[in-house]
């Protein structure tokens, strides 16, 4: 996404402002955002700052925002890349794939705002992961069947199924190792 102001640099700040009930989406780069501080001020807030832009987008009341600020200073920092929640709020970009897990809780409302209420992926799955997902689902179903056989004391069938499950588990572990 390109900055709406300069149409040159990539927009790293995305926010929605609501003035008199009219909603406007804004996508700007950091430079334009800091150069145009006045234009972007929120109707009911004092001035513009990059931090309250994202806070605005997150649509959190000030109490919750404060809470996150405190929490994130102490807790929320990505173990893999060291990204903090403040830094993310400032630059709008993550440092690594694990950031998505680290910041999952504050991220979900943010994703919903960005993607029309959605926060779950419903698209393409890489082939290797797809076959594993398929196996995982199959295994879940088979384990339920196994439980039923045991409850009904149909042990011969249960033993057969147990062997089949072990085979599938082995297959899944192998493909995981291949991936790693």
């Amino acid at each position: 996404m390109i900055c709406q102001q300069c149409e040159m640099r990539p927009a790293t700040l995305h926010f929605t402002k609501i003035i008199n009930g009219e909603k406007t989406e804004m996508h700007v780069c950091e430079q334009c955002a800091s150069e145009n501080g006045d234009t972007f001020s929120f109707s009911n807030q004092e001035g513009f700052s990059i931090n309250n832009l994202l806070a605005g987008l997150l649509n959190l009341d000030p109490a919750v925002t404060e809470n996150y600020k405190q929490q994130s200073q102490e807790v929320l920092s990505c173990p893999t890349c060291g990204m903090t929640y403040q830094k993310f709020a400032k630059i709008g970009r993550f440092g690594c794939a694990d950031c998505y897990k680290t910041f999952e809780r504050p991220l979900i409302p943010f994703l919903k705002r960005l993607h029309g209420g959605n926060y779950l992926h419903h698209g393409k799955i890489p082939a290797r992961i797809a076959s594993n997902l398929h196996l995982k689902k199959e295994l879940q179903a088979l384990r339920l069947n196994l439980k039923e056989y045991i409850e009904k004391e149909e042990f011969e069938k249960a033993a057969e199924l147990r062997d089949h499950i072990r085979l599938l588990e082995k297959k899944m572990n192998e493909s995981r190792e291949e991936e790693a």
Binding site: E7, T12, G95, G116, G123
Partner: protein, 357 residues
Amino acid sequence: MSQDLFFSQPVSSWMRQEASNSDIVLSSRIRLARNLTHYLFPTLFSKEQAVEVVRVFEQVFQKSENTNQWNLHLLKMNDLQPLQKQVLVEKHLISPNLAEGDNDGACFLSEKEDLSIMVNEEDHLRIQCLFPGLQLSEALSTANKVDNWIEKYVDYAFDENRGYLTSCPTNVGTGLRASVMMHLPALVMTRQIHRIIPAINQLGLVVRGIYGEGSEALGNIFQISNQMTLGKSEEDIVADLNSVVQQLITQEHSARDALFKTSRLELEDRVYRSYGVLANSRIIESKEASQCLSDVRLGIDLGYIKGLSQNILNELIIMTQPGFLQKYSGGPLKPQERDIKRATLIRERLTINKNIN
């Protein structure tokens, strides 16, 4: 093929192919954002990792089957002159972000210039396919083919719930940005565009004018793209965009019909005046040039002007950008010199086109 062609020929060969709805839709583009696991994203990775990421993809594309299939040329940003990078940006083959970036970025470019794979842009990988006219599904299927083939050799950062993990959460999920460039002169002339854009925004799509020097919108060209990347399948995203584009085509056609009925003479006058300006001026600014080009292109669509290629608009809009003008004249140009060069180039182009046809 010599790599020089990437920088010297203004019109990519993909642009020359016949395509559906190409009177109104200039091009269709699909972009997929991907990242590798086990490497930090470009926001934070080290110089060593940046170089390593390029090397990983270099190895993938060196597999003989791949090279043969796509005829990819590796262009490392550090090896290019600033002017060469600017030309690639003007041709939409790389992003300004990659050209200006400091990430040891690279680009694998197909000979037809219909496939551009950017490395170390905002994400490790940005697969971009360009098609003429309205061909979003075709572009998506090509992008998917490339994606599947890369995926055989590398591990993408992917999560069951969030999909493809990207640097910016605005791209997460499918990592897909689908966009079309549309020429909508009649909707602009009849001022309908002002009520259409907010309606399109309501549907979760983004409309942008195409900008050149300064911030003036060029030649009534608009880019329409999806905003959401999460929660919908790739096919649905493309289908939704496609249906909105179809409606815009219909509306532009009916606006043209209405203009033709109510102001036929004025329309004709405008087209021929603009043609006159382009064919005769000695100094022309980019804003005036692009408006006149838009009129002339409309004149071609309406059958007033014969013997000129429909591509004239796409072609000259790219050719009259600062990077190309300077490439064409072989050195840096001041703004006034650019306006002179622009006028010369357009005059030459109109003559050549007339003679060929």
